[in-house]
């Protein structure tokens, strides 16, 4: 086994492409090291991307935000501009693990670990976030929801690295929110979760909506029929009830150690209502 810390993305891609044996990218390590400890993977090369300067920054430009792949979630929480623009995304990222884990974990690691319960992913999906991917064949930009394809599996080609997550510039009257259900207040994995992202018109009517559910199916679910219910509404009680029903119906969960099918379906709807209201309030304030 080798440990390498390249200082440029080109080197990292080159190392990854030319590695003999299994190569693993190390960001915060909060998934990778746990899996290594458990004996689930034994990489031949560990490529630590944290010495690549460009990956360690959050940049705000005319198009929105570029969040480097090595930025720990704690830093996301400390970025006021990002928090104001995308409170739901930051909310999701900040729920991962503990203070200790926050100092290390990244949203890209969260995404690439491809757990259906990943906390930052539903909000990213609802936000319409895109990933900037660098590989041997060059760069491409893809929608975040296309990356996880099943528990522990991604659509990334061998040798590809996610360089950054891109978030659009925030339109007026927009707001997003994320909530998860966990039995404990902290240090827990989502039993089920929901994210809503809304843009309102000047009259306070929802113009655009995206609704995503976590831990409700093998990958994060983008529930279009739920979004359609919100569009044209003022997120009134009737719309919320129909939203909850649509979300519960869209779930395809399993029974496991963290929860039951019935519980997940019911609570997915409950959380969707709650986050829709929060997103609506946030949107109304801007």
């Amino acid at each position: 086994m080798r440990y390498i810390r390249p200082s440029s993305l080109e080197d990292a891609v080159g190392l990854l492409a030319n590695a003999s044996g299994k190569a693993a990218i190390l960001a915060g390590g909060s998934d990778l090291l746990v899996r290594m400890k458990g004996g689930f993977i034994e990489p031949d090369v560990i490529i630590d991307i944290k010495a690549i300067d460009a990956l360690g920054r959050i940049i705000e430009n005319d198009d929105g935000f570029v969040i480097g792949a090595a930025v720990p979630c704690a830093v996301l929480g400390e970025n006021t501009a990002l928090r104001n623009a995308w409170p739901g995304v930051v909310e999701g990222a900040r729920l991962i693990g503990s203070k200790q884990v926050q100092g290390r974990c990244t949203i890209v690691g969260n995404l690439c670990n491809a757990s259906p319960a990943a906390d930052s992913v539903p909000a990213l999906v609802a936000a319409g976030a895109r990933a900037l991917v660098r590989g041997p064949a060059g760069s491409r930009t893809i929608a975040v929801e296309t990356i996880p394809v099943g528990p522990g599996k991604t659509s990334l080609a061998p040798g590809e690295i996610i360089e950054a997550i891109l978030l659009d510039k925030r339109q007026r009257h927009s707001g997003d929110a994320y909530q998860r259900f966990t039995p404990r207040t902290e240090m827990d994995i989502a039993v089920v979760s929901a994210a809503v992202n809304l843009t309102l018109n000047d009259q306070g009517v929802v113009e655009k909506a995206r609704v995503a559910l976590g831990a409700a199916a093998p990958t994060v679910l983008l529930v279009e029929e739920a979004a359609d219910i919100l569009v044209g509404s003022r997120v009134d009680d009737g719309a919320l009830e129909r939203l909850a029903e649509a979300c519960s119906a869209a779930c395809r969960p399993i029974d496991d150690k963290r929860g039951t099918v019935e519980f997940r379906k019911k609570v997915a709807g409950v959380l969707a209502k709650r986050v829709a209201l929060t997103a609506y309030q946030r949107a109304g304030q801007k």
Partner: protein, 158 residues
């Protein structure tokens, strides 16, 4: 497996060590450098007993590779007291009996130190959420929270 040479700063002192690429910083601190105050309760990031401060960030040393310590600054419980003068948190943990078995104590002290550095006057709720990454099975947390509150007020006064 070849050893990696790492040079780092621990509690203000230069330290050099060789480690395997898959060795965690926790293993290095305990087994190679003899810093046994850093405890292992789980090895998977769940209990906080191995908490250290790495370049001003609170982390679990079991979730950091030893090799990653190159050029970084590490603070452990061993560096909290100044000579024979205990840090106010250490003193208050003793006075409030915030430890029973004490295995969680080094992690709590480090996490509380980080918390108070960022928020010198936390509410009870902020303390509870700030320390949620550290498990204690003996105390029910009551006396730990009180010790941190008391230490915070001493440190604000000092």
């Amino acid at each position: 497996m070849a050893g990696i040479a790492v040079s780092t700063t621990i509690n203000g002192d230069q330290a050099e060590f060789l480690c395997h690429p898959d060795e965690t910083l926790l293993e290095v601190l305990r087994e190679r450098l003899g810093l046994m105050g850093v405890k292992e309760g789980c090895g998977t990031g769940d209990c906080g007993a191995c908490s250290i401060i790495l370049d001003d960030r609170l982390v679990c040393s079991c979730l950091v590779l030893g090799a990653e310590a190159e050029g970084r600054r590490i603070a452990t419980v061993e560096g909290m007291a100044q000579g024979d003068k205990l840090h106010p948190l250490q003193q208050k943990f003793l006075e409030h009996a915030a430890l029973q078995c004490g295995i969680c104590t080094p992690g709590f002290l480090i996490a509380a130190k980080d918390l108070l550095a960022k928020n010198p006057d936390p509410t009870e709720e902020e303390i509870r959420f700030g320390l949620a990454g550290n498990l204690c099975r003996c105390t029910g947390y009551d006396k730990i929270v009180r010790a941190v509150q008391d230490a915070a007020s001493v440190m604000r006064g000092a």
